[in-house]
């Protein structure tokens, strides 16, 4: 069965700092997704990574995928308070099944 592991699970950062969230998965897949969830809200799609070496950037967030290492990273540059949320990675396998990591709860402090 596919396992998706994120780390860290909790991350407290100061504004202006950089950090990386890691997502490892156990089964071959070439489709990986990052979602954001604000408290009390549902999940919002951030990035879709469809091939080895894919890199996507939106504002202060950049996601990459290494399918050989079964690893995706979400890099945060010069964090701001608005980025405080929980970030989930998800892996699609067996064509349609989608499994999520446990989430990384990010808090950005002034």
């Amino acid at each position: 069965e596919l396992k998706v592991e994120q780390n860290p699970l909790f991350l407290s950062m100061q504004e202006g700092k950089n950090y990386t969230i890691y997502c490892n998965y156990s089964t071959t897949s070439d489709r990986l997704y990052w979602y954001r969830q604000d408290p009390g809200k549902s999940l919002e799609s951030l990035f879709v990574l469809l091939s080895n070496g894919a890199v996507k950037q939106e504002g202060r967030l950049m996601a990459s995928l290494d399918t050989k290492a079964r690893l995706s990273t979400l890099h945060i540059t010069a964090a701001v308070h608005d980025l405080s949320a929980t970030y989930f990675c998800a892996v699609r396998y067996n064509n349609n099944d989608m499994r999520f990591g446990a989430g990384t709860r990010l808090t950005v402090k002034p």
């Binding site: 489709r31 999940l43 799609s45 349609n96 099944d97 989608m98 999520f100 446990a102």
Partner: protein, 114 residues
């Protein structure tokens, strides 16, 4: 509406009662997923529907849980004889049948079992 719609948004029930949660996916989306999210936790896969294929029920935690999807559109998740550990937010998502395949989530149904 334009997005995934779920109802009710909140449901409080007594232990032992049955509940039904409804999901209306985005029009034209052939795939529909149910997940459960307990307080402060990640997403637990429950069940997946794709078109007219047999659903993937591998995530349903017990035989008290069942789901159906009528006409390839609306889905209902039923929990029989609810237990306190069933308390969670139940999230529905839909996806078009295309290469990217990202999920579009509803706002969820928060279930509290007293």
């Amino acid at each position: 509406g334009a997005g995934v719609s779920q109802s009710p948004s909140n449901k409080v029930t007594e232990k032992g009662k049955d509940v039904e949660l409804r999901c209306d996916p985005i029009s034209g989306h052939t795939a529909l997923y149910w997940y459960r999210q307990s307080l402060g936790q990640g997403l637990e896969f429950l069940i997946y529907f794709q078109g007219n294929s047999a659903p993937d029920k591998s995530g349903l935690p017990s035989d008290r849980f069942s789901a159906e999807r009528t006409g390839g559109s609306v889905s209902t998740l039923t929990i029989q004889r609810t237990q306190q550990e069933d308390s969670a937010v139940y999230l529905c998502a839909s996806s078009p049948w295309m290469l990217a395949g990202e999920l579009f989530f509803g706002e969820g149904s928060r279930l509290t079992v007293l």
